[in-house]
Amino acid sequence: MKLMYFAWLRQKIGCGSEERELPAHVATVEQMLLWLETLGPGYRTALADRKSIRVAVNHEYVGAGYPVKQGDEIALFPPVTGG
């Protein structure tokens, strides 16, 4: 599974993109966020304010209950500010 982080999420986690094995107990976006928080203080800080986090699975916006699986490209980022 490819994980990507943008803007201040990238800065707080300290990395823009990483490959990880999805643990067997992680089946949804919300479970994935809880698991990521266990990976270190950078992740914990980055993910503290859930309201400020958007999740895209394979380039589509998804909600907390959306299923995740090995092989997905999953991106975490703050609300967008382009244009």
């Binding site: 895209a56 980022f77 500010t81 244009g83």
Partner: protein
Amino acid sequence: MIRVQQEDFDVGAEIARLTAGNRAIGGLALFVGLVRDMADREKIDAMTLEHYPGMTEKKLAEIEAEAQRRWPLEASLIVHRYGRLEPGDNIVLVACASPHRDAAFDACRFLIDWLKTEAPFWKLEETGKGPKWVEARDSDDRAKKRWVAD
């Protein structure tokens, strides 16, 4: 047509390309977004636009297709820059051409409103107090909602 690029764009050349040979166009509406030197009463020296390659192009193409579905457009174009930009620099160009001016205006505004809330770009401003990520605006969410009740 959509493009995501670091280089500047030339509005005159883009218009010429977009309308070339098409005599059904009666109205062309454009929007150009530029970097301001002030934001929330703070001086901006520069900004860096980060984006999510792959998803950006997909989202822009979806938004453009939706505009083409909603309005009778002869041509449309979104060009969005990324990278480091300074005050006065172009950020984004949206253009819609239609036989009729109302369709051109509505589609153009729809595109920029949706792009602002859907396309994965993030602005990092360089201010006198250091770098600062721009926060999303409620007004942009409201602007997008203009188009949802349709």
